[in-house]
């Protein structure tokens, strides 16, 4: 089987047909602004807890299907989470417990 070792990664789409692009401003949700601020903090602390390059690497590692379906900041928070787990800032257990806590708070407040 022949393998194409010079193939393009999905995210690397410069020059591809993009269709019509509407130049409009985006309105960001509060959680999106939080994600942005979080990355600024994580990458500017000394020593830094992750790099912007790790952010990009994580986003680029998404399968094409997920890359297309997720919004801009959904990709960011996915990648930030992975980098923090990889760098040992967060354990999966801590993350799991916190997610449960937030979920139950949400359920309570909803009622």
């Amino acid at each position: 089987m022949e393998r194409d070792l010079t193939s393009r990664s999905h995210h690397d789409m410069g020059g591809l047909e993009a269709g019509h692009i509407k130049p409009v401003e985006h309105n960001y949700e509060l959680w999106e602004k939080n994600v942005d601020a979080l990355l600024v903090l994580l990458t500017s602390m000394s020593p830094k807890l992750m790099s912007v390059d790790q952010l990009r690497k994580g986003i680029e590692s998404l399968p094409p299907d997920a890359y297309e379906k997720m919004s801009y900041y959904e990709r960011w928070i996915f990648s930030i989470t992975q980098a923090l787990q990889y760098n040992g800032v967060l354990t999966t257990k801590e993350l799991s417990r916190k997610l449960e806590e937030v979920q139950s708070r949400y359920e309570t407040e909803k009622v």
Partner: protein, 99 residues
Amino acid sequence: MIPLFQTGNAVRVRKGSPPGHIRTPFYVRGCKGVIERVAGEYRNPEELAFGRFDTPVVPLYRVRFQQQEVWPDYQGSPQDSLDVEIFEFWLEPANPEKT
């Protein structure tokens, strides 16, 4: 680190798509261009991407390509060019006479 190339040198971008985090856009790989300027030296993003934050700095260049070299079916002026910032290890010397 002393830069291998100087302004005006003809270079060719290496081909290849290794797994990892690559900052060199796919569309310029294999293309020939000219060093527009030495753009300083920075830590290698390909290593930073894996959490190695203290590797040595490497020279970065601003490389100028003719649009017709990058896009074979380019419809604009033959004078049009495109500048891309590329790290040294993605570049090799090119003979300016040959295409």
